[in-house]
């Protein structure tokens, strides 16, 4: 049995998502080398824009429960950054999402899902420490931001209201913050980030707060020797993400089948030129210590580009 959602909100979400992408593509001027799963402390030049586009396929399955859940989430994530000063950069993140959940209920396979503009995040990052030397830099930059309830959070289909895990938006105002450290040389780049996201309640549902530690190593594998000018760099990328999420709360009570600890590793490649970057990586779960029958991730595929123009 297949159900799909067709509402004016969904169509409006499509249009808004497309509009956001067009606007961002037109405004994007500059971007920087950075990890694929989190931020960097590298600078955004004053008065300039940073643009990044990433497509993400988040596949979950391996359900320990009889429902045999299978969740597929696509996201097209557009990031626009602006250098307000050499130290302060402001960012906007606009996701366009397509989420489906398959479950077995009463012997029937059901497929439910929704797509549309997701929740927009706005945040600022301020470089509090910078040590520049020939061919290398060390930077420390705290950041703080807010996730807005811009995505539709009340989608429904023939079976009723969709589960929160496939709604394009959460409906909640969620604050987040952290600090990112970057050490970059001509041969390699290391980024590390600690962050916390405090989720709030909406629709009688509250996602658990998220605490993360992220690390990334980018190592220049080509060219081995640098010549004159500005050659393209091919980086081998290795990232680690340690993520802890509290239990969700439904109607004021903890959901015992949610939250837990996960560790991911991402091997990937990134080719960086003066005008553009292409990158891809596969985020694989190394450890998933989830509560109850929490749905485990199979993998997260990421691919994207950045343009200077």
């Amino acid at each position: 049995m297949l159900f799909s959602v067709k509402t004016p909100w969904r169509r409006a979400g499509h249009a808004l998502g497309l509009l956001a992408l067009i606007v961002m593509t037109a405004m994007g001027e500059q971007a920087q080398a950075a990890p694929q799963t989190f931020n960097t402390a590298l600078p955004v030049a004053q008065g300039e824009f940073v643009f990044r586009e990433q497509i993400v396929l988040d596949q979950s399955g391996d359900d320990p429960s009889v429902a045999d859940r299978d969740r597929t989430a696509w996201a097209l994530v557009s990031v626009l950054g602006y250098g307000a000063t050499p130290e302060l950069a402001l960012f906007g993140v606009v996701p366009y999402v397509d989420r489906t959940l398959e479950v077995t209920d009463g012997g029937m396979r059901q497929r439910r899902g929704a797509r549309g503009l997701g929740d927009i995040s706005l945040f600022g990052r301020y470089t509090v420490f910078r040590r520049d030397r020939p061919g290398r830099t060390l930077r420390i930059a705290p950041f703080v931001g807010l996730k807005l309830p811009t995505g539709e959070d009340d989608e429904s289909d023939g079976l009723g209201r969709l589960p929160q895990s496939v709604q394009p938006g959460s409906g909640s105002w969620d604050a987040f913050g952290g600090v990112v450290v970057t050490y970059q040389t001509l041969a390699f780049q290391i980024d590390a980030q600690a962050s916390y996201k405090a989720n709030t309640e909406a629709n009688d549902f509250e996602f658990g707060d998220v605490a993360r530690l992220d690390g990334s190593l980018q190592y220049r594998v080509w060219p081995r020797e640098l010549g004159a000018g500005v050659p393209g760099f091919l980086y081998g990328v290795l990232e680690l993400n340690l993520i802890h999420q509290d239990k969700n709360r439904i109607g004021g009570s903890d959901d015992p089948n949610s939250g837990g600890l996960s560790l991911f590793i991402l091997p990937g490649l990134q080719y960086v030129t003066k005008r553009w970057i292409i990158e891809a990586g596969l985020q694989i779960p190394v450890l998933q210590d989830l509560n109850g029958t929490g749905l485990e991730k199979d993998y997260i595929l990421r691919a994207g580009f950045r343009l200077n123009f």
């Binding site: 590298l42 004053q46 520049d132 030397r133 001509l186 500005v230 950045r306 200077n308």
Partner: protein, 108 residues
């Protein structure tokens, strides 16, 4: 025949003098930019300098962190100006020098 030869000589000398004047008038500066370590960041510096009035050309050598700025004839770049542009790009000016030679000119 002599008149033609004389005319050609005058034209050649005039063009030669004009060319030499143009070269002599084109100031060139060599900057060392500290903190520059990736190609994409280099573009931000290039863009900032190219948006600066009087800049004719810019060449970046990422391996040495060197940025060579060539000014239009009669144009000049001060160290303070270069420092500010590099700072606005998010980096630090390590050194600033005027390039001697045909395209450069002593002093700044």
């Amino acid at each position: 025949m002599r008149i033609r030869l004389l005319r050609a000589s005058i034209i050649a000398i005039t063009l030669g003098l004009a060319s030499a004047t143009a070269i002599a008038g084109a100031h060139q500066y060599r900057l060392r930019v500290d903190g520059l370590a990736c190609p994409f960041c280099a573009y931000g510096i290039e863009k900032k300098f190219n948006a600066t009035k009087g800049v004719k050309a810019i060449k970046i050598d990422i391996n040495t962190g060197t940025v060579t700025v060539t000014m239009e004839a009669g144009g000049a770049l001060s160290e303070a100006q270069a420092r500010q542009i590099v700072k606005d790009s998010g980096f630090t000016l390590g050194s600033f020098q005027t390039v001697p030679g045909p395209a450069g000119k002593a002093g700044n």
